[in-house]
Symmetry: C2
DNA sequence: GAGTGGTCTAGACCACGAG
DNA sequence: TCGTGGTCTAGACCACTCA
Protein backbone atom coordinates (compact mmCIF):
# COMPACT_ATOMS: atom_id res chain seq x y z
CA UNK A 1 0.00 0.00 0.00
CA UNK A 2 1.48 3.33 -1.06
CA UNK A 3 2.09 5.82 1.71
CA UNK A 4 0.32 9.14 1.75
CA UNK A 5 3.64 10.80 1.13
CA UNK A 6 4.14 8.88 -2.11
CA UNK A 7 0.56 9.40 -3.19
CA UNK A 8 0.92 13.14 -2.74
CA UNK A 9 4.35 13.21 -4.38
CA UNK A 10 2.91 11.30 -7.32
CA UNK A 11 0.00 13.68 -7.62
CA UNK A 12 2.15 16.78 -7.46
CA UNK A 13 4.57 15.26 -9.97
CA UNK A 14 1.61 14.78 -12.23
CA UNK A 15 0.44 18.34 -11.77
CA UNK A 16 3.87 19.54 -12.79
CA UNK A 17 4.27 17.14 -15.70
CA UNK A 18 0.91 18.09 -17.18
CA UNK A 19 1.63 21.77 -16.84
CA UNK A 20 -1.06 22.53 -14.28
CA UNK A 21 1.81 24.03 -12.32
CA UNK A 22 4.33 25.53 -14.68
CA UNK A 23 8.11 25.78 -14.47
CA UNK A 24 9.19 28.75 -12.39
CA UNK A 25 5.83 28.99 -10.67
CA UNK A 26 5.39 28.83 -6.96
CA UNK A 27 3.48 25.94 -5.49
CA UNK A 28 0.65 26.68 -3.08
CA UNK A 29 1.85 27.20 0.47
CA UNK A 30 2.64 24.03 2.37
CA UNK A 31 -0.17 24.77 4.81
CA UNK A 32 -2.61 25.06 1.91
CA UNK A 33 -1.44 21.86 0.31
CA UNK A 34 -1.57 20.08 3.65
CA UNK A 35 -5.20 21.01 4.17
CA UNK A 36 -6.00 20.27 0.54
CA UNK A 37 -4.63 16.75 0.88
CA UNK A 38 -5.92 16.52 4.46
CA UNK A 39 -2.58 15.58 5.90
CA UNK A 40 -0.36 17.12 8.52
CA UNK A 41 2.45 19.46 7.50
CA UNK A 42 5.28 16.97 8.13
CA UNK A 43 3.62 14.48 5.80
CA UNK A 44 3.22 17.09 3.11
CA UNK A 45 6.78 18.19 3.59
CA UNK A 46 7.97 14.62 3.18
CA UNK A 47 6.18 14.50 -0.15
CA UNK A 48 7.92 17.70 -1.23
CA UNK A 49 11.25 16.25 -0.11
CA UNK A 50 10.75 13.46 -2.62
CA UNK A 51 10.22 15.92 -5.45
CA UNK A 52 13.14 17.96 -4.24
CA UNK A 53 15.49 14.96 -4.36
CA UNK A 54 14.30 14.36 -7.90
CA UNK A 55 15.25 17.91 -8.77
CA UNK A 56 11.67 18.81 -9.72
CA UNK A 57 11.06 21.30 -6.96
CA UNK A 58 13.26 23.90 -5.37
CA UNK A 59 12.53 25.06 -1.86
CA UNK A 60 13.32 28.63 -0.94
CA UNK A 61 13.09 29.46 2.71
CA UNK A 62 10.70 32.27 3.40
CA UNK A 63 9.42 32.41 -0.18
CA UNK A 64 7.93 29.10 -1.15
CA UNK A 65 8.38 25.97 -3.19
CA UNK A 66 9.05 26.48 -6.87
CA UNK A 67 8.88 24.23 -9.88
CA UNK A 68 12.36 24.08 -11.34
CA UNK A 69 12.73 25.20 -14.91
CA UNK A 70 13.78 22.26 -17.03
CA UNK A 71 17.52 22.44 -17.08
CA UNK A 72 19.63 22.23 -20.14
CA UNK A 73 21.33 18.91 -19.85
CA UNK A 74 25.03 19.08 -20.20
CA UNK A 75 27.20 16.28 -21.35
CA UNK A 76 30.72 16.02 -20.13
CA UNK A 77 32.79 14.49 -22.89
CA UNK A 78 35.61 12.35 -21.60
CA UNK A 79 38.99 11.63 -23.08
CA UNK A 80 40.01 15.23 -23.42
CA UNK A 81 38.58 15.46 -26.89
CA UNK A 82 36.73 18.71 -26.62
CA UNK A 83 38.98 21.57 -25.68
CA UNK A 84 40.16 20.60 -22.22
CA UNK A 85 37.30 18.32 -21.49
CA UNK A 86 35.37 20.86 -19.50
CA UNK A 87 31.65 20.35 -19.28
CA UNK A 88 31.37 24.03 -19.86
CA UNK A 89 32.46 23.67 -23.46
CA UNK A 90 28.80 23.90 -24.39
CA UNK A 91 26.81 26.74 -25.79
CA UNK A 92 24.57 28.80 -23.54
CA UNK A 93 26.79 28.24 -20.57
CA UNK A 94 28.98 31.01 -19.29
CA UNK A 95 31.86 30.23 -17.03
CA UNK A 96 33.48 32.30 -14.37
CA UNK A 97 37.02 31.40 -13.48
CA UNK A 98 39.00 32.30 -10.41
CA UNK A 99 42.70 31.70 -10.59
CA UNK A 100 44.77 31.16 -7.47
CA UNK A 101 48.20 29.92 -6.64
CA UNK A 102 48.29 27.28 -3.99
CA UNK A 103 50.66 24.72 -2.60
CA UNK A 104 50.08 21.04 -3.10
CA UNK A 105 48.89 19.18 -0.05
CA UNK A 106 46.90 16.12 0.86
CA UNK A 107 45.38 14.19 -1.98
CA UNK A 108 46.45 16.80 -4.52
CA UNK A 109 50.03 15.62 -4.20
CA UNK A 110 49.14 12.08 -5.20
CA UNK A 111 46.73 13.23 -7.87
CA UNK A 112 49.38 15.37 -9.54
CA UNK A 113 52.27 13.17 -8.44
CA UNK A 114 54.13 16.11 -6.97
CA UNK A 115 55.66 16.57 -3.55
CA UNK A 116 53.93 18.44 -0.76
CA UNK A 117 54.41 22.17 -1.08
CA UNK A 118 54.81 22.20 -4.85
CA UNK A 119 53.36 25.28 -6.41
CA UNK A 120 50.14 24.78 -8.30
CA UNK A 121 47.75 27.02 -10.10
CA UNK A 122 44.15 26.39 -9.24
CA UNK A 123 41.41 27.32 -11.66
CA UNK A 124 38.08 27.41 -9.89
CA UNK A 125 35.44 27.27 -12.59
CA UNK A 126 31.75 27.77 -12.06
CA UNK A 127 29.55 27.43 -15.11
CA UNK A 128 26.19 29.15 -15.32
CA UNK A 129 23.08 28.74 -17.34
CA UNK A 130 21.64 32.20 -17.29
CA UNK A 131 21.80 33.21 -13.65
CA UNK A 132 21.69 29.74 -12.21
CA UNK A 133 24.89 27.96 -11.28
CA UNK A 134 25.26 24.77 -13.21
CA UNK A 135 28.44 22.89 -12.46
CA UNK A 136 31.69 23.23 -10.67
CA UNK A 137 35.26 22.40 -11.60
CA UNK A 138 38.58 22.73 -9.89
CA UNK A 139 41.49 22.39 -12.27
CA UNK A 140 45.07 22.16 -11.07
CA UNK A 141 48.16 22.74 -13.16
CA UNK A 142 51.76 22.90 -11.98
CA UNK A 143 52.78 26.54 -11.90
CA UNK A 144 55.67 26.23 -14.30
CA UNK A 145 53.27 25.13 -17.02
CA UNK A 146 51.13 28.23 -16.63
CA UNK A 147 52.28 31.42 -18.39
CA UNK A 148 52.58 34.31 -15.98
CA UNK A 149 49.97 36.22 -17.93
CA UNK A 150 47.48 33.61 -16.85
CA UNK A 151 47.38 34.93 -13.36
CA UNK A 152 45.71 38.19 -14.25
CA UNK A 153 42.50 37.64 -12.48
CA UNK A 154 39.13 36.76 -13.94
CA UNK A 155 40.16 36.04 -17.47
CA UNK A 156 37.45 34.95 -19.83
CA UNK A 157 37.02 31.24 -19.97
CA UNK A 158 38.59 31.08 -23.40
CA UNK A 159 41.80 32.34 -21.86
CA UNK A 160 42.07 29.35 -19.63
CA UNK A 161 41.24 27.04 -22.46
CA UNK A 162 43.86 28.45 -24.76
CA UNK A 163 46.47 28.18 -22.09
CA UNK A 164 45.74 24.58 -21.40
CA UNK A 165 45.71 23.80 -25.09
CA UNK A 166 49.35 24.76 -25.29
CA UNK A 167 50.09 21.73 -23.18
CA UNK A 168 48.35 19.57 -25.64
CA UNK A 169 50.87 18.20 -28.14
CA UNK A 170 52.77 15.95 -25.74
CA UNK A 171 49.68 14.56 -24.01
CA UNK A 172 49.71 10.82 -23.65
CA UNK A 173 46.87 9.75 -21.43
CA UNK A 174 43.74 11.01 -19.78
CA UNK A 175 42.50 9.05 -16.79
CA UNK A 176 39.04 9.82 -15.51
CA UNK A 177 37.46 8.34 -12.44
CA UNK A 178 33.72 8.81 -12.11
CA UNK A 179 31.95 8.50 -8.77
CA UNK A 180 28.65 9.39 -7.19
CA UNK A 181 28.14 11.01 -3.85
CA UNK A 182 26.02 13.54 -2.04
CA UNK A 183 27.20 17.12 -2.32
CA UNK A 184 29.08 18.72 0.52
CA UNK A 185 27.08 21.51 2.18
CA UNK A 186 29.39 23.98 0.50
CA UNK A 187 28.86 22.49 -2.95
CA UNK A 188 25.13 22.34 -2.37
CA UNK A 189 24.95 26.04 -1.61
CA UNK A 190 27.32 27.03 -4.42
CA UNK A 191 25.34 25.03 -6.95
CA UNK A 192 22.02 25.82 -5.28
CA UNK A 193 21.02 22.20 -5.15
CA UNK A 194 19.47 20.11 -2.44
CA UNK A 195 21.75 18.24 -0.09
CA UNK A 196 19.84 15.15 -1.16
CA UNK A 197 20.56 15.54 -4.87
CA UNK A 198 23.50 13.33 -5.72
CA UNK A 199 26.34 14.67 -7.80
CA UNK A 200 28.51 12.99 -10.35
CA UNK A 201 32.16 13.65 -9.66
CA UNK A 202 34.99 13.21 -12.09
CA UNK A 203 38.59 13.05 -11.03
CA UNK A 204 40.70 13.64 -14.09
CA UNK A 205 44.40 13.19 -14.48
CA UNK A 206 46.17 14.16 -17.67
CA UNK A 207 49.64 12.82 -18.28
CA UNK A 208 52.17 13.76 -20.93
CA UNK A 209 54.46 11.41 -22.81
CA UNK A 210 57.12 11.64 -20.16
CA UNK A 211 54.71 10.44 -17.51
CA UNK A 212 54.31 13.82 -15.89
CA UNK A 213 50.88 14.84 -14.71
CA UNK A 214 50.28 18.14 -16.46
CA UNK A 215 46.75 18.69 -15.24
CA UNK A 216 44.34 17.33 -12.72
CA UNK A 217 40.71 18.26 -12.32
CA UNK A 218 37.96 17.67 -9.83
CA UNK A 219 34.59 18.15 -11.43
CA UNK A 220 31.25 18.25 -9.68
CA UNK A 221 28.19 17.82 -11.88
CA UNK A 222 24.71 17.78 -10.37
CA UNK A 223 23.10 14.49 -11.21
CA UNK A 224 19.83 16.00 -12.39
CA UNK A 225 21.43 17.82 -15.29
CA UNK A 226 24.65 16.13 -16.26
CA UNK A 227 25.85 13.02 -18.02
CA UNK A 228 29.32 11.97 -18.92
CA UNK A 229 30.14 10.37 -22.22
CA UNK A 230 33.19 8.27 -22.96
CA UNK A 231 34.05 6.90 -26.35
CA UNK A 232 36.81 4.39 -26.91
CA UNK A 233 38.05 3.65 -30.37
CA UNK A 234 39.92 0.52 -31.21
CA UNK A 235 43.12 0.82 -33.19
CA UNK A 236 42.24 -1.93 -35.64
CA UNK A 237 40.34 0.48 -37.85
CA UNK A 238 41.18 3.86 -39.22
CA UNK A 239 40.65 6.53 -36.61
CA UNK A 240 37.30 8.07 -37.26
CA UNK A 241 37.58 11.78 -37.94
CA UNK A 242 36.80 13.88 -34.92
CA UNK A 243 34.59 16.89 -35.12
CA UNK B 1 23.45 26.40 14.09
CA UNK B 2 23.46 22.69 13.34
CA UNK B 3 20.15 20.92 13.70
CA UNK B 4 19.67 18.20 16.28
CA UNK B 5 19.30 15.76 13.45
CA UNK B 6 22.74 16.60 12.10
CA UNK B 7 24.29 16.60 15.54
CA UNK B 8 22.96 13.13 16.23
CA UNK B 9 23.91 11.88 12.77
CA UNK B 10 27.40 13.23 13.32
CA UNK B 11 27.68 11.57 16.68
CA UNK B 12 26.44 8.21 15.45
CA UNK B 13 28.76 8.44 12.45
CA UNK B 14 31.56 8.95 14.89
CA UNK B 15 30.52 6.00 17.03
CA UNK B 16 30.62 3.84 13.91
CA UNK B 17 33.89 5.27 12.58
CA UNK B 18 35.66 4.72 15.88
CA UNK B 19 34.39 1.19 16.18
CA UNK B 20 32.23 1.76 19.22
CA UNK B 21 29.50 0.22 17.10
CA UNK B 22 30.99 -2.37 14.80
CA UNK B 23 30.06 -3.39 11.26
CA UNK B 24 27.21 -5.85 11.22
CA UNK B 25 26.11 -4.89 14.71
CA UNK B 26 22.65 -3.68 15.52
CA UNK B 27 22.24 -0.16 16.78
CA UNK B 28 20.26 0.41 19.97
CA UNK B 29 16.54 0.56 19.34
CA UNK B 30 15.29 3.89 17.98
CA UNK B 31 13.28 4.44 21.14
CA UNK B 32 16.40 3.96 23.23
CA UNK B 33 18.48 6.27 21.11
CA UNK B 34 15.71 8.85 21.14
CA UNK B 35 15.61 8.91 24.92
CA UNK B 36 19.40 8.84 25.09
CA UNK B 37 19.63 11.94 22.89
CA UNK B 38 16.49 13.36 24.49
CA UNK B 39 14.72 13.88 21.19
CA UNK B 40 11.48 12.62 19.75
CA UNK B 41 11.43 9.56 17.56
CA UNK B 42 10.90 11.42 14.25
CA UNK B 43 13.99 13.51 14.96
CA UNK B 44 16.06 10.47 15.70
CA UNK B 45 14.73 8.75 12.62
CA UNK B 46 15.72 11.73 10.51
CA UNK B 47 19.24 11.39 11.81
CA UNK B 48 19.25 7.71 10.87
CA UNK B 49 17.92 8.62 7.43
CA UNK B 50 21.05 10.70 6.88
CA UNK B 51 23.29 7.77 7.70
CA UNK B 52 21.16 5.52 5.57
CA UNK B 53 21.53 7.78 2.54
CA UNK B 54 25.27 7.68 3.13
CA UNK B 55 25.14 3.92 3.05
CA UNK B 56 26.47 3.61 6.59
CA UNK B 57 23.36 2.13 8.13
CA UNK B 58 20.88 -0.39 6.88
CA UNK B 59 17.37 -0.40 8.29
CA UNK B 60 15.55 -3.69 8.54
CA UNK B 61 11.91 -3.46 9.40
CA UNK B 62 11.05 -5.39 12.52
CA UNK B 63 14.66 -6.19 13.36
CA UNK B 64 16.59 -3.00 13.81
CA UNK B 65 19.18 -0.68 12.34
CA UNK B 66 22.47 -2.27 11.40
CA UNK B 67 25.88 -0.90 10.64
CA UNK B 68 26.72 -1.92 7.11
CA UNK B 69 29.82 -3.96 6.65
CA UNK B 70 32.36 -1.97 4.70
CA UNK B 71 31.74 -2.91 1.13
CA UNK B 72 34.38 -3.93 -1.28
CA UNK B 73 34.57 -1.08 -3.71
CA UNK B 74 34.26 -2.13 -7.27
CA UNK B 75 35.65 -0.24 -10.18
CA UNK B 76 33.98 -0.47 -13.50
CA UNK B 77 36.63 -0.17 -16.16
CA UNK B 78 35.42 1.56 -19.28
CA UNK B 79 36.49 1.12 -22.86
CA UNK B 80 35.87 -2.60 -22.95
CA UNK B 81 39.37 -3.36 -21.80
CA UNK B 82 38.66 -5.94 -19.19
CA UNK B 83 36.78 -8.88 -20.55
CA UNK B 84 33.48 -7.36 -21.59
CA UNK B 85 33.69 -4.41 -19.31
CA UNK B 86 31.53 -5.90 -16.64
CA UNK B 87 31.97 -4.53 -13.17
CA UNK B 88 31.83 -8.11 -12.02
CA UNK B 89 35.20 -8.86 -13.54
CA UNK B 90 36.62 -8.52 -10.06
CA UNK B 91 37.63 -11.12 -7.58
CA UNK B 92 35.37 -12.05 -4.68
CA UNK B 93 32.27 -11.24 -6.67
CA UNK B 94 30.08 -14.00 -7.92
CA UNK B 95 27.61 -13.33 -10.66
CA UNK B 96 24.33 -14.96 -11.43
CA UNK B 97 23.11 -14.67 -14.97
CA UNK B 98 19.65 -15.15 -16.34
CA UNK B 99 19.35 -15.46 -20.06
CA UNK B 100 16.15 -14.61 -21.88
CA UNK B 101 15.09 -13.99 -25.42
CA UNK B 102 13.12 -10.84 -25.92
CA UNK B 103 11.98 -8.62 -28.72
CA UNK B 104 13.38 -5.15 -29.15
CA UNK B 105 11.05 -2.36 -28.15
CA UNK B 106 11.19 1.20 -26.93
CA UNK B 107 14.59 2.64 -26.24
CA UNK B 108 16.27 -0.70 -26.87
CA UNK B 109 15.65 -0.30 -30.58
CA UNK B 110 17.57 2.95 -30.72
CA UNK B 111 20.26 1.72 -28.37
CA UNK B 112 20.96 -1.29 -30.54
CA UNK B 113 19.94 0.40 -33.77
CA UNK B 114 17.57 -2.38 -34.67
CA UNK B 115 13.93 -2.31 -35.67
CA UNK B 116 11.09 -2.97 -33.29
CA UNK B 117 10.49 -6.66 -32.81
CA UNK B 118 14.06 -7.73 -33.57
CA UNK B 119 15.09 -10.72 -31.54
CA UNK B 120 17.54 -9.99 -28.77
CA UNK B 121 19.14 -12.04 -26.07
CA UNK B 122 19.04 -10.43 -22.68
CA UNK B 123 21.58 -11.33 -20.03
CA UNK B 124 20.40 -10.22 -16.63
CA UNK B 125 23.45 -10.19 -14.40
CA UNK B 126 23.41 -9.73 -10.67
CA UNK B 127 26.77 -9.70 -8.96
CA UNK B 128 27.12 -10.63 -5.31
CA UNK B 129 29.67 -10.09 -2.65
CA UNK B 130 29.07 -13.00 -0.35
CA UNK B 131 25.32 -13.06 0.12
CA UNK B 132 24.72 -9.39 -0.52
CA UNK B 133 23.72 -8.18 -3.96
CA UNK B 134 26.24 -5.77 -5.31
CA UNK B 135 25.41 -4.50 -8.77
CA UNK B 136 23.09 -5.09 -11.63
CA UNK B 137 23.61 -5.32 -15.37
CA UNK B 138 21.36 -5.92 -18.30
CA UNK B 139 23.26 -6.85 -21.44
CA UNK B 140 21.59 -7.12 -24.82
CA UNK B 141 22.99 -8.87 -27.85
CA UNK B 142 21.25 -9.52 -31.16
CA UNK B 143 20.19 -13.15 -31.22
CA UNK B 144 22.12 -14.11 -34.31
CA UNK B 145 25.35 -13.24 -32.54
CA UNK B 146 24.62 -15.57 -29.67
CA UNK B 147 25.41 -19.27 -30.15
CA UNK B 148 22.44 -21.48 -29.44
CA UNK B 149 24.32 -23.15 -26.62
CA UNK B 150 24.26 -19.88 -24.79
CA UNK B 151 20.62 -20.23 -24.01
CA UNK B 152 21.03 -23.12 -21.65
CA UNK B 153 19.96 -21.45 -18.54
CA UNK B 154 22.10 -20.27 -15.64
CA UNK B 155 25.48 -20.68 -17.20
CA UNK B 156 28.40 -19.65 -15.08
CA UNK B 157 29.40 -16.08 -15.62
CA UNK B 158 32.49 -17.15 -17.51
CA UNK B 159 30.28 -18.68 -20.12
CA UNK B 160 28.71 -15.36 -20.95
CA UNK B 161 32.08 -13.68 -21.00
CA UNK B 162 33.58 -16.18 -23.37
CA UNK B 163 30.68 -15.86 -25.71
CA UNK B 164 30.92 -12.13 -25.87
CA UNK B 165 34.64 -12.32 -26.39
CA UNK B 166 34.06 -14.11 -29.67
CA UNK B 167 32.58 -10.92 -30.99
CA UNK B 168 35.71 -9.11 -30.10
CA UNK B 169 38.00 -8.99 -33.14
CA UNK B 170 35.88 -6.68 -35.27
CA UNK B 171 35.01 -4.25 -32.48
CA UNK B 172 35.49 -0.65 -33.42
CA UNK B 173 34.04 1.55 -30.74
CA UNK B 174 32.66 1.47 -27.24
CA UNK B 175 30.42 4.35 -26.25
CA UNK B 176 29.57 4.72 -22.60
CA UNK B 177 27.19 7.22 -21.13
CA UNK B 178 27.38 7.69 -17.40
CA UNK B 179 24.51 9.20 -15.42
CA UNK B 180 23.32 9.49 -11.87
CA UNK B 181 19.83 8.93 -10.61
CA UNK B 182 17.87 7.48 -7.75
CA UNK B 183 17.16 3.79 -8.00
CA UNK B 184 13.76 2.58 -9.10
CA UNK B 185 11.87 0.83 -6.29
CA UNK B 186 12.56 -2.44 -8.07
CA UNK B 187 16.29 -1.79 -8.30
CA UNK B 188 16.38 -0.69 -4.68
CA UNK B 189 14.86 -3.93 -3.49
CA UNK B 190 16.95 -6.10 -5.80
CA UNK B 191 20.15 -4.42 -4.68
CA UNK B 192 18.92 -4.03 -1.11
CA UNK B 193 19.77 -0.36 -1.03
CA UNK B 194 17.88 2.65 0.19
CA UNK B 195 15.65 4.51 -2.22
CA UNK B 196 17.69 7.58 -1.29
CA UNK B 197 21.04 6.10 -2.29
CA UNK B 198 21.87 7.32 -5.76
CA UNK B 199 23.10 4.88 -8.36
CA UNK B 200 25.57 5.33 -11.13
CA UNK B 201 24.19 4.09 -14.41
CA UNK B 202 26.16 3.27 -17.49
CA UNK B 203 24.61 2.89 -20.90
CA UNK B 204 27.09 1.11 -23.07
CA UNK B 205 26.96 0.61 -26.80
CA UNK B 206 29.56 -1.52 -28.56
CA UNK B 207 29.88 -1.18 -32.31
CA UNK B 208 31.83 -3.30 -34.78
CA UNK B 209 33.79 -2.08 -37.77
CA UNK B 210 30.75 -2.19 -40.01
CA UNK B 211 28.88 0.13 -37.72
CA UNK B 212 26.62 -2.55 -36.33
CA UNK B 213 25.79 -2.44 -32.64
CA UNK B 214 26.85 -5.86 -31.39
CA UNK B 215 26.12 -5.29 -27.75
CA UNK B 216 24.38 -2.84 -25.51
CA UNK B 217 24.36 -2.81 -21.75
CA UNK B 218 22.53 -1.01 -18.99
CA UNK B 219 24.49 -1.12 -15.78
CA UNK B 220 23.32 -0.05 -12.37
CA UNK B 221 26.04 0.47 -9.77
CA UNK B 222 25.14 1.66 -6.27
CA UNK B 223 26.96 4.91 -5.65
CA UNK B 224 28.27 3.90 -2.25
CA UNK B 225 30.40 1.10 -3.61
CA UNK B 226 31.19 1.74 -7.24
CA UNK B 227 33.38 3.96 -9.36
CA UNK B 228 33.94 3.95 -13.06
CA UNK B 229 37.33 4.45 -14.59
CA UNK B 230 38.03 5.56 -18.12
CA UNK B 231 41.44 5.81 -19.63
CA UNK B 232 42.10 7.43 -22.97
CA UNK B 233 45.41 6.98 -24.71
CA UNK B 234 46.61 9.29 -27.40
CA UNK B 235 47.91 7.78 -30.58
CA UNK B 236 51.10 9.81 -30.60
CA UNK B 237 52.88 7.33 -28.39
CA UNK B 238 53.23 3.58 -28.52
CA UNK B 239 50.20 1.86 -27.16
CA UNK B 240 50.90 0.81 -23.62
CA UNK B 241 50.59 -2.92 -23.17
CA UNK B 242 47.33 -3.98 -21.66
CA UNK B 243 47.17 -6.44 -18.84
C1' DG C 1 4.14 42.31 10.60
C1' DA C 2 2.34 38.91 7.58
C1' DG C 3 3.47 34.92 5.15
C1' DT C 4 6.52 31.49 4.18
C1' DG C 5 9.35 27.35 5.04
C1' DG C 6 12.52 24.68 8.90
C1' DT C 7 12.63 22.05 12.89
C1' DC C 8 10.87 19.59 16.56
C1' DT C 9 7.58 17.35 19.91
C1' DA C 10 4.89 13.56 22.19
C1' DG C 11 2.44 10.83 21.27
C1' DA C 12 -0.89 7.25 18.17
C1' DC C 13 -1.44 3.41 15.31
C1' DC C 14 0.19 0.00 11.85
C1' DA C 15 3.38 -3.67 9.80
C1' DC C 16 7.06 -6.78 10.16
C1' DG C 17 10.11 -10.45 12.51
C1' DA C 18 11.09 -13.83 15.85
C1' DG C 19 9.92 -16.78 19.48
C1' DT D 1 2.88 -11.89 21.95
C1' DC D 2 6.46 -8.64 22.07
C1' DG D 3 9.93 -5.70 20.31
C1' DT D 4 11.18 -3.62 16.32
C1' DG D 5 10.84 -0.02 12.73
C1' DG D 6 7.21 2.79 9.43
C1' DT D 7 3.95 6.29 9.12
C1' DC D 8 1.29 9.93 10.59
C1' DT D 9 -0.87 13.65 13.52
C1' DA D 10 -1.75 18.38 15.34
C1' DG D 11 0.20 21.26 16.84
C1' DA D 12 4.54 24.61 18.78
C1' DC D 13 8.22 27.63 17.95
C1' DC D 14 11.96 29.62 15.13
C1' DA D 15 14.15 31.82 10.84
C1' DC D 16 13.83 33.91 6.54
C1' DT D 17 11.71 37.22 2.94
C1' DC D 18 9.27 40.98 1.60
C1' DA D 19 6.45 44.90 2.01
Amino acid sequence: MPSRRDTIAHDLRDRIATGRIKPGERLPAEAHLASEYRVSTPTLRNALAVLQAEGLVEKVHGKGNFVRRPLQRITYVGGGRTANGQPAAHAALSVTVHTTRIQARGHLTSLLKVSTGSRLTEFLCLSHEGERPHSLARIYVPCDLVPAAALRESLPYEGVMKRLLRLRPPLAEVREQVSVRLPTPQEASTLRISLALAVLTIKRQTTDTRGRVVEAALLVLPGDRADALFTTHYPTDERTPEK
